[in-house]
């Protein structure tokens, strides 16, 4: 029971820490970003939006990959799986 909860606690903490780190990156790097050769403010705003959205998507992708790998790894290594599947209700 504790192992199952601990796995998720670690994932939650990782995801939460990544979110805070992402917000810090947006605040410190993306928002003050100035590109000298681009003068148009709208283009710069769009670049900032794309960068922020990219970070958010990376966050979601990381979250999904961790869970996917954890699930299939745990399922494969679980020895009782074969036995239990035979008991499966038809």
């Amino acid at each position: 029971m504790i192992k199952r909860i601990l796995d998720f606690v670690l994932i939650l903490l990782f995801v939460w820490a990544c979110m805070i780190l992402g917000l810090w990156l947006i605040n410190e790097i993306v928002v003050p970003l100035e590109i000298p050769w681009i003068k148009n403010r709208i283009v710069i705003a769009i670049i900032k939006l794309v960068m922020s959205s990219g970070l958010a998507l990376l966050w979601l992708w990381l979250w999904r990959e961790i869970i996917k790998r954890m699930f299939w790894h745990t399922l494969k290594t679980h020895k009782t799986l074969g036995k239990a599947e035979k008991q499966e209700e038809r």
Binding site: W24, N27, V31, T74, A84, E88
Partner: protein, 328 residues
């Protein structure tokens, strides 16, 4: 503070009195659902969420009498809840398609926009502080309520999981409102808390009633509305982590919006009454399936783990509220 306490009590009493009547009515009309995770497959009265809506409505009416300056805020909160509830009731009586249901829940955010009860300046983030998303924010409100209502609906597989985890989220929003001094959040959370506690008492293992989509969609929309109306958007994102995880994994594995009845079952019932994660690659990767990857468990054990995860998310969400307080 007395008016908030009265609101909580009224919501609780109204729900606890109306729940047995709703159960009796649903049983009489044959609106029952089969508890698939029990060996004897009992028929349980559906649409217990109606009693939650009655409780919320009663507490909102009392709150608007006691705090008349907040009538508009309370009205938008109740209207959002009711719209999602109507969509849920329609789905309970005649199942809607996997695309129509989320589309209809988009309308639950409309009362907040129409009554202008949101802060147009945009959400407040930890570290970043206040943002100026004046154009995008109204669109986000509409999407946010549809996301919360459907995410809550998707995490309702076992007895007590939805009602328990939503009670934890409500308490999280209440504590966060107290930390950040958001009086509206305190009032709205207390309007929700009484009816939700009643639902948990009746819905916990072994369930005497199912909330139905009328309950899960309306509760999800109400929680989404609280987070928008009391400016707790980021706190809610963290508090909703188990629901987001569950919905996101499911959608990403199936690759489209889906209904439970349309896909392979992620969890199967063993002869000894325990639940086991299926190894079918076509089944959605739900939170319950990931929990059960370590081996079979009884239904009440899985439900307990999901509620514990909600509590841990709640603690992180409260810490996020503290970070917002420090930032702003």
């Amino acid at each position: 503070m007395i008016s908030e306490f009265v609101t909580l009590i009224v919501g609780f009493i109204t729900s606890i009195l109306s729940m047995p009547l709703v159960m009796k009515f649903m049983k009489k009309k044959g609106i029952v659902g089969i508890d698939m995770h029990k060996k004897n497959k009992p028929a349980i009265p559906e649409m217990g969420g109606v009693a939650v809506i009655i409780g919320i409505a009663a507490s909102v009416v009392v709150a608007s009498v006691l705090t008349s300056e907040k009538t508009r805020l309370l009205l938008s909160f109740l209207a959002s809840t009711l719209i999602a509830g109507i969509v849920g009731a329609a789905d309970d009586l005649k199942p809607l398609s996997a695309r129509i249901k989320p589309f209809l829940t988009l309308f639950s955010g409309m009362p907040i926009l129409m009554l202008c009860t949101y802060d147009p300046r945009g959400p407040i983030f930890p570290i970043i502080g206040r943002t100026r998303l004046t154009i995008v924010y109204p669109l986000l409100i509409i999407v946010a309520l549809a996301v919360t209502s459907n995410a809550v609906n998707m995490l309702d597989p076992f007895n007590g999981t939805m009602s328990g985890s939503c009670t934890v989220i409500t308490i999280t929003l209440l504590i966060s409102s107290l930390i950040l001094g958001r009086n509206d959040g305190v009032l709205l959370s207390l309007c929700m808390l009484g009816p939700l506690l009643v639902l948990y008492l009746f819905n916990r293992y072994p369930a005497k009633v199912f909330s139905g989509d009328v309950g899960s969609l309306s509760i999800g929309a109400a929680l989404g509305a609280i987070s928008i109306l009391s400016h707790l958007e980021m706190v809610a994102v963290i508090a909703f982590a188990p629901q987001i995880m569950n919905a996101f994994y499911g959608l990403s594995t199936i690759g489209r919006l889906y209904e439970r009845r349309e896909t392979a079952r992620p969890v199967v019932l063993l002869n000894d009454g325990r639940l086991m994660a299926t190894s079918d690659p076509k089944a959605p990767l739900t939170l319950a399936r990931v929990i059960l990857a370590h081996g079979p468990l009884y239904e009440y054990e899985v439900a307990r783990i999901i509620i514990i995860l909600s509590i841990i998310s709640g603690i992180l969400a409260i810490f996020t509220a503290y970070l917002i307080k420090v930032t702003v």
